[in-house]
Amino acid sequence: MFQIVNPQNTEKTHLDLLTDETKATIDYWLKKYPHEQRRSAVLGALHAVQDQNGGWISTELMAAVSEYIDIPLVWVREAAEFYSMFHTQPVGRHKISICTNISCMLRGADKVVKYAEDKLNIKLGQTTEDGRITLVMEEECVAACTGAPMMIIDGHYHENLTEETIDEILGGLE
């Protein structure tokens, strides 16, 4: 490898992957932080690229974010792999996250998981064959313990789950 390459001059080869709307969102977040702390904009940016990409973030998009914000790629990957709301594998049209933290667990979250898995014929972390539903790998407490057990579907909370309500809710998903 020839090492006289200046990273400041390396072509930013992934920037084209970002839509104008995504760029505008990232700019919005970048404005909120001083330049030295621009790393903080990574969460807003990851949400934006996830939205533009049908719900998940590819390695190329992470590279695009790192180039756009001008931070190391590994920082972007750390954030993307840390938060359960980011997906780094392709997902279905609907994302279901079943809380399995302590309150929900005490109120039968494991049974909810089992029921949903059997009903959809997939395991946590998988997507149905028709691309309709992804069961998200794990979800930590989202402060809805009073309604335990609970799950989040595409950002909406569904509480006090029973087999009947699960049937009803899942049945209503396109």
């Binding site: 090492q3 006289i4 390459v5 200046n6 590994v74 920082w75 750390e78």
Partner: protein, 778 residues
């Protein structure tokens, strides 16, 4: 030591640790105080040179009035604080942290390379339980290939993030990160691209467990079988302090020996892995040899030295020339000089990488100490790629930059840096010097001062540049000192004296200091002993040429030296290695030991004299150089060669006077360099600098190793008429080098970059700037 609290200075607080009253710096952490007083607090994530992460929770101590144990590394001291490091609450906190850390850590120390020198193992002996209460399955983590230097066993990782913080804070390359969450966190690169920091090996020392280990040393020995010998690095002019770990007289690995004024707690990869060249026996010479009617014959030392002495006696003194490498001990230089003085020849030179001999020899300038480089506010690198020339110097520049310094650069390429450059002024080898000229011109115009003579006339012909002009203004305006760092690219430049004169003229105008980056580990020692000549001795045809600890690849003008050697009557090689390029031009080979195989002293770039001890047993009949020179002096009947021991020679070299303070170079005339075709930039790769690194397989297989390539700007391809990837010939004054053509945006237009120090470029002289690219000759 007990102090009473009524004499507590302003910036200190008085605290009590385990019943002992001590003073601690205000705002410092408890662990700073316990460390300062030799009180042991176990830790994994804390490291004195890195930021505080407080994520391992091993350093729990008991603080009076605190409701629970607190981490010593992240709890600031408060006046009157009472700390107990051995109380029941403290030790139970530590034991619990230990148990948690061991949950997912394999308990297979016997097959782990870190066994015996593992911080986790040590602490577990003290704090761990005998039997694990954890019966569930442990996790395992897939490993990625981090390259030829660092091996990984990520299942052993305890997520202290020392490696992540080192690469972020010190190396500045941010290659590793903590991926995932909770018990599924693992340490990885962003996309499996490996490590390419020139300081990557330090994460091995930092890793408290066996997750990151030394790849070439892997499974070679156990820590308790090794002996440590204090040594010095010989790959750059800093003399980084090293412990060589040896077994049965063989160096198996190198680790840093702390020296705050030089390498701190770090080692560059070159200094850590260079030693693997020692074990490369492909062209190691182990017995004296003479070429007789085209045949190499092994002879005894006595025969060899007699042949040499007879030839020296028969040859006119000025017909004998000596070229020495730049990493030899001062003791050998001293004896060589003594020998040449008594022979009556002044044809000796150590500056093998110099091509501009137009001014007489000057002592190198180093006006700012290495440690103080980190305190600078304005640094201008002139023809300097510090990252590869002296990685530790680069670390100091980066520290200065992190503290807010502005760094600017002039040079023949956009080099990859681990800090931001305000201005990165580049041009082909002649152009960037002109741009440095525009800086001087702007300074002259603003200040109304002008250099005299040839330099002043030359400056008149330069043109101004807007960016450079604003740099000039800010240099004149700011109230802090500037540091010019004259790098090796400048030293090897055919206009080296002009570059130096420009900087020397500018420095007083803007209140600047100058540091020169020296080549080799001991060019200072060679200079101090007087092993130079005011002219280029390669110009003369000598009857006898002595090559001392050098290879043809070490010369900036390999084509030229090859010619000198061929034309001579006898070429004598004093070396540890002798490759075909040298052997085919040699007549007598004397195997002498390299630095880790011999004792002696080195003087570094900053004038510090340091001693090194023998760490490695030299193979075969190899002898230390000082001993060979002593015997040669005796055979020749010269005075003062009766040394019994290297320490006697070391006493002599200690007496050497320091060099006279340098005066600015006086430029008599400036060659109007004209290049036709492409302008050559003879680049020196980080691992092409000396006999050992060239033979170190781990370094040559690492990402920073160079290749037999010529690089041009992509915009020049059309006029060159070849495609990237083509095998081409680079032609220079009727000589050819066969290389692969490649393009890089970092290369300025009109420039051809060639990697020197390699066999493929022995036909290229760095001093001849016109080259052209033509079809492959073979």
């Amino acid at each position: 030591m007990t102090e009473t609290s009524n004499q507590v200075p302003e910036d200190k607080v008085s605290i009590e640790i385990d019943g002992q009253t001590v003073l601690a710096d205000k705002g410092s952490m408890i662990i700073h105080a316990t460390d300062a007083h030799g009180i042991n607090v176990p830790r994994f994530c804390y490291h004195k040179k890195l930021s505080i992460a407080a994520n391992c929770r091993m350093c729990m101590v008991d603080v009076e009035k605190a409701p629970k144990p607190l981490p010593a590394c992240a709890t600031p001291v408060v006046d009157g604080m009472k700390i107990y490091t051995r109380s029941k609450r403290a030790t139970s906190g530590q034991k619990n942290a230990m148990e948690f850390l061991l949950i997912n850590h394999p308990l297979d120390c016997p097959i782990c390379d870190q066994g015996g020198e593992c911080e986790l193992q040590d602490v577990a002996m003290g704090y761990g339980r005998d039997v694990s209460r954890f019966v569930e399955g442990k996790r395992s983590v897939a490993d990625e290939d981090l390259g030829s230097l660092v091996a990984s066993d990520m299942t052993r990782c305890i997520h202290c993030t020392r490696c992540v913080r080192f690469l972020n804070e010190i190396a500045g390359t941010d290659e590793l990160g903590g991926i995932g969450r909770g018990d599924r966190t693992y340490i990885a690169t962003a996309i499996g691209q490996g490590l390419d920091s020139e300081m990557s090996g330090n994460i091995i020392d930092l890793c408290p467990v066996g997750a990151l280990t030394n790849k070439p040393f892997r499974f070679k020995a156990r820590a308790w079988e090794l002996m440590a010998t204090a040594g010095l690095s010989m790959h750059d002019a800093l003399g980084s302090n090293i412990y060589y770990h040896t077994r049965h007289g063989k160096i198996l690995r190198a680790v840093p020996r702390e020296n705050e004024s030089i390498n701190e707690a770090w080692l560059s990869d070159r200094d850590r892995y260079g030693i693997h060249g020692l074990n490369n026996d492909q062209d190691r010479v182990t017995q004296p040899m003479v070429k007789q009617s085209g045949q190499w014959n092994v002879i005894t030392w006595e025969q060899a030295l007699t042949i040499l002495a007879d030839k020296l006696k028969d040859t006119a003194a000025e017909e004998v020339a000596l070229y020495t490498g730049q990493h030899t001990t001062s003791e050998e230089y001293f004896l060589l000089k003594k020998l040449f003085d008594q022979l009556g020849s002044d044809q000796h030179e150590h500056r093998l990488s110099t091509v501009d001999f137009s001014a007489s020899f000057q002592a190198p300038r180093t006006e700012v100490s290495l440690a103080d480089v980190a305190e600078q506010k304005q640094i201008i690198m002139v023809g300097c790629y510090a990252r590869h020339e002296q990685p530790i110097l680069n670390h100091k520049i980066r520290q200065a930059w992190l503290n807010g310094a502005e760094v600017n650069a002039f040079g023949p390429c956009h080099f990859e840096q681990n800090f931001d450059l305000k201005l990165d002024i580049t041009g082909h080898q002649m152009d960037w010097v002109k741009k440095l000229g525009s800086l001087a011109l702007s300074l002259a115009e603003i200040s109304g001062r002008k250099p005299d003579g040839a330099l002043g006339d030359w400056l008149q012909q330069q043109s101004a540049d807007e960016d450079i002009n604003s740099l000039a203004k800010s240099l004149l305006k700011n109230d802090h000192k500037t540091l010019f760092i004259l790098g090796q690219i400048s030293a090897r430049h055919p206009q080296a004296q002009l570059i130096k004169a420009l900087v020397e003229w500018m420095a007083p105008l803007v209140d600047a200091s100058i540091n020169q980056v020296l080549d080799g580990a001991n060019s200072m020692g060679a200079a101090l002993n007087g092993l130079y000549n005011d002219q280029d001795i390669k110009r003369n045809d000598h009857a006898v040429n002595l090559i001392y600890q050098a290879e043809i690849q070490d010369f900036a003008e390999p084509a030229k030296i090859k010619e000198c050697l061929v034309n001579s009557e006898m070429t004598v090689v004093f070396n540890a290695f002798c490759d075909e390029a040298l052997k085919s031009r040699a007549d007598l080979i004397l195997p002498i030991a390299l630095l880790p195989e011999t004792s002696g002293s080195l003087i570094n770039n900053y004038g510090q004299r340091q001693d090194a001890l023998v760490a490695h047993k030299a193979p075969g009949d190899t002898k230390p150089g000082w001993r060979v020179l002593r015997v040669l002096g005796n055979i020749l009947g010269f005075d003062g060669f009766e040394y019994e021991d290297v320490h006697e020679v070391m006493q002599e070299t200690e007496q050497l006077k320091s060099l006279p303070t340098p005066v600015p170079v006086a430029i008599k005339e400036i060659d109007a360099y004209k290049a036709k075709g492409l302008v050559l930039y003879a680049h020196h790769g980080i691992y092409d600098g000396d006999a050992l690194v060239r033979r170190s397989r781990p370094l040559q297989e690492s990402k920073l190793a160079t290749a037999d390539t010529v690089y041009v700007n992509p915009g020049d391809l059309l006029s060159i008429g070849f495609e990237a990837g083509d095998l081409v010939s680079v032609e220079q004054n009727g000589r050819y080098a066969e290389l692969t053509l490649a393009t890089d945006e970092a290369v300025p237009t009109g420039s051809a970059v060639i990697n020197m120090g390699r066999l493929s470029t022995l036909n290229i002289n760095a001093g001849e700037l016109s080259v052209s690219i033509i079809g492959a000759q073979s």
